[in-house]
């Protein structure tokens, strides 16, 4: 029998799929729903210190192979989010995605919710964040390292750093994050940003004009990021970007990801995507005679 279980930084997951940050996940209800629907773990929507309305609509628009979005990290702030985290049914591990403008904000938030989740994911990679958050940090290896170092000093649970592909050299940032003490890396946040302009009016459709590109269109880039970073760091990698079926998951595992996150394709496939992917993985591994997910990780190297 094929075993889909994996262990990530000491956290046991029943399968290698997670709900990606910011796809649903603003409430305990939707996180629990993803867990019930087959996700091996769930990542919350990124939250910060204060409630944030995000950008005005349109915040999303479809493009070939995915969407561009500038939701703008809307969230009710850590104090409200804490109430949600308390209602998690704990059926699967939960990872809190947090953002801030500097190491103090990050530490502040994380210290308030550390006891409610299994790990932290530092979002230093949102391509459309305001006020110096998001990729403004993740594009600078030193800023990134500072935040990781400070957060690591303050928390006991694993700290995962989510990186942006929108840099000249993602391997450099990954190494800085590892050296600063990151327990794992999530690769990649949405790309670009990108823009879509309405033909009739000439107006950029997103209110923020630009937004992160996600979905199947970015998969080749995400795979390459995982592949390259795998060769240069020793901490586990969580792959994300464009996964729509079990074959996409295999590509990420082959490239070196220990597990994966799924976001945009929930638009195409609904919440059943987790179960469908896990069934596909099981069938494939059975056919191929793989006993466990770990046997697959990194075989493209």
């Amino acid at each position: 029998m094929t075993i889909l279980e994996i262990e990530l930084c000491g956290i046991k997951m029943r399968n290698p799929t997670m709900l990606a940050a910011g796809i649903l996940g603003s409430t305990a209800s939707s996180l629990n729903w993803a867990g019930r629907s087959g996700a091996g773990a769930v990542v919350t929507k990124s939250f910060g210190i204060e409630p944030n309305k995000g950008y005005s609509n349109p915040t999303t628009v479809e493009v070939m192979g995915g969407i561009i979005n500038a939701v703008g990290l809307s969230n009710p702030g850590v104090n409200n989010f804490k109430l949600e985290l308390e209602k998690l049914d704990k059926s699967v591990p939960a990872i809190a995605s947090v953002y801030g403008a500097n190491q103090y904000e990050f530490s502040d938030i994380v210290s308030k919710i550390e006891n409610l989740v299994d790990a932290i994911e530092l979002n230093v990679s949102c391509p459309h964040a305001m006020g110096g958050c998001g990729s403004a940090i993740g594009q600078d290896p030193n800023l990134t390292a500072d935040i990781v170092r400070t957060v690591k000093k303050n928390v006991k649970i694993p700290v995962i750093v989510k990186l942006t592909p929108n840099v000249t050299d993602i391997v450099e940032i990954a190494q800085y994050a590892e050296d600063a003490g990151a327990d794992a890396l999530t690769l990649i946040n949405s790309m670009g940003p990108g823009m879509k302009i309405d033909i009739e009016t000439g107006i950029p459709i997103l209110k923020n004009r630009v937004g992160g590109l996600s979905g199947p269109a970015i998969k080749p880039i995400a795979i390459r990021c995982v592949f390259d970073v795998f060769e240069s760091v020793d901490i586990p990698i969580i792959g994300v970007g464009g996964i729509r079926d079990y074959k996409d998951v295999l590509e990420f595992l082959y490239a070196g990801a220990q597990c994966v996150q799924i976001g945009t394709s929930i638009m195409y496939e609904g919440m059943d995507i987790f179960t469908n992917i896990n069934n596909g993985l099981r069938r494939f591994m059975d056919k191929k005679g793989y006993g466990s997910v770990d046997e697959i990780v990194g075989i493209a190297h």
């Binding site: 609509n57 999303t60 939701v71 809307s74 969230n75 009739e200 459709i205 929930i266």
Partner: protein
């Protein structure tokens, strides 16, 4: 594809002092009453129920109450002006049974009139309770009269029809007439009351819910409801009573654009 399609406003109908209907040419495929469109005025984009579907003339319409910045901007538009529409989104009303009571409150009449037109056009006996604050805020009376549906009006101030809440009239009607099903859209307090009433009468019912929406395509999570987590924009906006029982925030609270909870008065 979840991309706004630019359409010209073909016709504007003044439904009441606060409500206008906007008609567009639209390639009608399987638009269903209860579904909604994301409406872009090149400045903001918000959900609006489809209030009118004509698969022969290939037109759809939306009806908008002027209650804030966005809706005011749209009310200021003229025939020939443009809007961006994407959709239809969500799960609309199921049509079943041969005698249906539909209850609409205020702008909640928008999906209700689309449903009633379609159901009565199919030969189903449709009784409509149309509730408003006062007589000139009653919506779509003309359209209802032109259809085979039977209209029961209801105003808070008694200026037309039954004086009092739509839910009171509904309770009265339900105790007098046997219906196969109830359909409802209106303010959530009203829907919650009607929910309790249909539970009492053990009649199958569908309710159309509203929550703050951003993407409309099931990704952002802004419209998810407790405790099931469902997205109003995909799994809803229409729910059966059975489903509503699992949405325990129904009638209790709703989240705003940053996700902060607010009690429903």
């Amino acid at each position: 594809m979840n991309i706004p399609r630019i359409v010209k406003i073909k016709q504007i109908i003044n439904e009441s002092p606060t409500v206008k209907t906007f008609i567009f040419d639209w390639d009608v495929k399987d638009e269903i009453p209860g579904q909604f469109m994301m409406v872009w005025n090149f400045n903001n984009e918000k959900p609006m129920s489809i209030s009118y579907i004509d698969p022969v003339k290939n037109e759809i319409g939306i009806s908008i109450r002027n209650i804030g910045k966005f809706t005011k901007q749209i009310h200021n538009l003229c025939e020939g002006d443009k809007l961006g529409l994407r959709g239809p989104y969500g799960r609309g009303f199921h049509i079943a049974g041969s005698k249906i009571l539909v209850v609409g409150g205020g702008i909640g009449m928008a999906p209700i009139i689309a449903f009633s037109d379609k159901a009565s056009g199919m030969g189903i006996e449709v009784h409509i309770i149309s509730a408003a604050t006062t007589h000139n805020e009653l919506l779509f009376n003309d359209r209802i009269e032109k259809s085979d549906a039977k209209l029961l009006t209801c105003t808070d101030d008694g200026t037309s029809g039954f004086c009092g809440f739509g839910t009171d009239l509904a309770e009265k009607t339900l105790s007098e007439i046997d219906y196969d099903m109830v359909i409802c859209c209106g303010p959530e307090v009203m829907m919650k009351k009607l929910f309790d009433i249909v539970e009492k009468f053990k009649i199958p019912a569908q309710f159309s819910m509203e929550r703050y929406m951003k993407c409309g395509m099931g990704l952002c999570g802004q419209c998810c409801v407790d405790n099931v987590g469902w997205r109003i924009c995909v799994e809803g906006p229409v729910f059966w009573t059975d489903e509503l029982r699992m949405i325990n925030e129904f009638g209790q609270y709703r989240r705003d654009s940053s996700g902060v909870k607010h009690n429903i008065p």
